[in-house]
């Protein structure tokens, strides 16, 4: 029966080529536009560390003076160096890492290569296991190296390829910022999206190319990027000058494996704030936050407003295309009232007619979905040509591919429901008579 209905559907669609083409095109355009924007939205609001992000938390405390204090106001979004080191050394979490971003000039030591700048991340040993950063060669530096202010670096695969032709460079020397560094590890391809651990250097920035111990950076006064917020007489520090103690400029992440540990860590933050207030360092009442990765990204509203607007617009567009299809399908089915009347008179049940008509709209949906998929691929290609920092991420993955088809077929079946139902209501006798 299905094959017969399919045959009937194709014949009927062929009879009215312009109308069919219009329906298919409208569906394809609607699906194409909404899938393009939805894919971009999906990629941009994705989970940077699936399976792990719920256990990673970003503690915030409030070390500011009393000026400008308002109840309910959010604490600063970063930490001072003093608090960062205190919390790091307290080691109350399963893992923790303190970090800041920067850049440094590399002297390749080769005649055929000019010096160039790389993005750097100054952090502590917990960074790599906590964020599941994959090692190609070697390993991270140790906690003892952190305290000893070791001149150790972990470099990214791209830099390793550029400088060492992809060979195992562990143990070799890197000349950077006028200092000799020992390479202890090489990371494999790694680009968490969004760049959640430090949004101040760009929400969708590439991962850094050189990682080195934070305390070494403090000692050597390496160049720092990202933002710093100061109060009182604080100075933000520019270039190779560190911000002073009245400034927050460091990001601190902790891994807490269970909700109970997270609750305990929150208590610890309150306790720490009280203790610092007792010592006279803090002036405000404890004001702490402990958000996990997705909550943090949500709070920071990393997904650009324009991307949301575009997705909304595209879905509005799809809605209009669907209403349009419902109207056309209705016209088409009603025009065939005579034919349907004959089939009814010959004994076809309403249900059979309904199935036949739904298959016809399903075919339109399928072809429209296919066209929409091609248009979505074209749309994503266009997005990739644009010079935004997230352009390269706009790729269709399997789940979105599946969603596209499901959306297209569901939408047209839904659009076919009303016309098919209406067409089935026709009394066969009346139709036969009027002809």
């Amino acid at each position: 029966m299905f094959a017969y209905y399919l045959d009937l559907a194709l014949r009927s669609l062929k009879r009215n080529k312009a109308l069919t083409a219009l329906m298919v095109l409208a569906i394809a355009l609607g699906i194409g536009a909404s899938m393009t924007t939805l894919t971009v939205l999906h990629v941009l609001s994705g989970d940077p560390l699936p399976g792990k992000s719920a256990q990673l938390y970003y503690p915030q405390i409030d070390p500011q003076d009393l000026k400008g204090m308002m109840p309910g106001k959010e604490p600063p979004e970063q930490l001072t160096l003093v608090d960062g080191l205190n919390l790091l050394h307290a080691a109350r979490a399963d893992r923790q890492a303190l970090m800041a971003g920067g850049s440094a000039p590399i002297d390749p030591g080769k005649a055929d290569m000019d010096p160039f700048y790389v993005e750097t991340r100054y952090t502590t040993t917990g960074f790599f296991p906590m964020f599941d950063a994959p090692f190609l060669f070697g390993h991270a530096w140790t906690a003892a190296d952190d305290e000893a202010k070791a001149r150790d670096v972990v470099i990214a695969r791209s830099l390793n390829d550029k400088l060492f032709g992809g060979a195992d460079s562990v143990g070799r020397t890197l000349r950077m910022a006028g200092v000799d560094w020992r390479i202890v590890g090489v990371l494999d391809q790694w680009r968490p999206n969004p760049h959640f651990y430090d949004l101040t250097t760009g929400s969708y920035a590439y991962a850094e190319q050189v990682f080195l111990p934070l305390q070494t950076m403090v000692e050597l006064r390496l160049d720092r990027n990202g933002s710093s917020d100061c109060w009182g007489n604080g100075g933000g520090g520019v270039g190779n000058i560190l911000p002073n103690d009245d400034c927050v400029w460091l990001q601190f992440w902790v891994q807490l494996d269970t909700p109970a540990k997270a609750a305990a860590y929150r208590d610890f933050l309150v306790h720490y704030s009280q203790e610092q207030k007792a010592l006279g360092r803090f002036q405000r009442a404890p004001n702490v936050r402990l958000r996990n990765v997705m909550q943090w990204l949500d709070y920071k509203m990393v997904v650009p407003d324009d991307v949301r607007l575009q997705a909304g617009l595209a879905f509005g567009f799809l809605l209009v295309c669907l209403v349009n299809t419902v109207g056309l399908m209705l016209a088409k089915f009603m025009r065939r009232a005579a034919e349907l009347g004959v089939r009814r008179a010959l004994g076809a049940s309403r249900r059979a007619l309904f199935a036949q008509l739904l298959i016809e709209s399903g075919v339109v949906g399928l072809v429209g979905g296919l066209g929409g998929l091609l248009l979505a691929m074209l749309g994503l290609w266009l997005v990739r040509q644009r010079p935004s920092d997230y352009a390269a991420l706009a790729q269709l993955d399997t789940s979105m591919l599946f969603t596209t088809f499901a959306l297209a077929v569901c939408a047209t079946l839904l659009a076919g429901l009303l016309p098919a139902w209406r067409a089935c209501q026709i009394a066969p006798a009346l139709q036969l008579k009027s002809n």
Binding site: L19, L22, A26, L29, A33, K67, G68, P105, D107, D114, P115, F116, Y117, G178, R221, D223, G235, G237, V238, G239, N240, I241, P304, D305, D306, R308, L309, Q310, L313, A314, G316, F317, L319, V320, C321, V323, N324, V326, G327, L328, L330, A331, K332, M334, R335, R386, P387, S388, L418, P419, R422, S434, N435
Partner: protein
Amino acid sequence: MKLHPILAALRKHKAGTVLIALQIALTLAIVCNAVFIIGQRVERVNRPTGLDESNLFLVSQQWVGAPSADNADGVEKLDAMQREDLAALRQLPGVAAVAPTNSLPLLNSSWTGSVSHKPGADLGGKGDIRTAYYFTDEQALSTLGLRLVAGRNFNAGDVQHQGFRDQRDRPVAIISKALADKLFPDGNAVGKVMYSDGSNAPTTIIGVVARLQIPSIGSWGSSFAWYSTLIPTRLDGGFARYAVRTKPGQLDAVMRAVAPALYKVTPMRVLDDDSVKPFSEIRAKAYRADIGMAVLMGVICLILLCVTAAGIVGLTSFWVGQRHRQIGVRRALGARKIDILHYFQIENLLIAGVGVVLGVVLAVGLNMWLMTHYEMTRIPLLYVVTGVLAMLAIGQGAVFVPARRASNVPPVEATRAA
């Protein structure tokens, strides 16, 4: 012509009528808001910065192994290096003027602070006005092409230098007219004093320029987008930016000559493809997201209108086909071709009329929803009215072809079996 028969006929096609009206309503709501967004973006992109943007480019460079800006000795050395660079650039053939600057409008790298009437004011306190600083020298006005509307330009004696982090008194400044009007609403800011960043030392306003945008175009800076302050101070650090104005038509030649000239001063610096940028490129980069958004919205609106028009053509064609015989009867009873044409046109006007009324409600509702969720202002009536008229015109345009076909139905149809 009486409306009654049209309404009676429409009652027989409830579903189709409702669908067309709904489609017109949705299209109107979406297109109105999208065009409004496009309009806002275009307005934003087209606002002038206050600079004379042609024949202007920016050099951003870093020294490798530069002395530290932490101590006085290092600052002096860095300043000497910067002066050497400036001298080298000013000597290039085709160069009209060169000024060091920490940033430019649309560059999105800003140094902001606040100015006040009172000394020692709290940062962010009441009576404070936020501003963005441009640290530069006596060639700033001629290099950037700023128009002085009151007071005098900087002279060489005004120019100081300081390490990036150092605090230094700012005896004189030139401010933008917008800031001058905000500080001194009575006018005539020249010669008056202000206090910057909570300092106790007065800054005398020696000049006012007509217009100067701050570097940031982000929403956080929108409240003080035109409040700029020029300070005649060279900032010394491991990093320096130079704005260069060339003689007309020599932009490309001078840009090519920059890297060799600077490398000749010292090769110990990082200068890459990105380091020498014409202002047009800075502008394009700053607004590329806005332009992209406007183009995308425009394309979607256009397709949307086409789809809606095609839908009207399709459905009306179907109705014409269905009513062939009735049209024949009307013709046989004496209706002229024009009557039939008008019938379908009025029918469409009725449906579209209901559609646009609903559409206006939806458009305003959508605009209100957008205002609560995004940075959006109330949609001006003009957009809605234009949208309504455009929708009605599109409806009439779309209905014309099938309606004409209907009017060509011969009266003899009445005698034929359908």
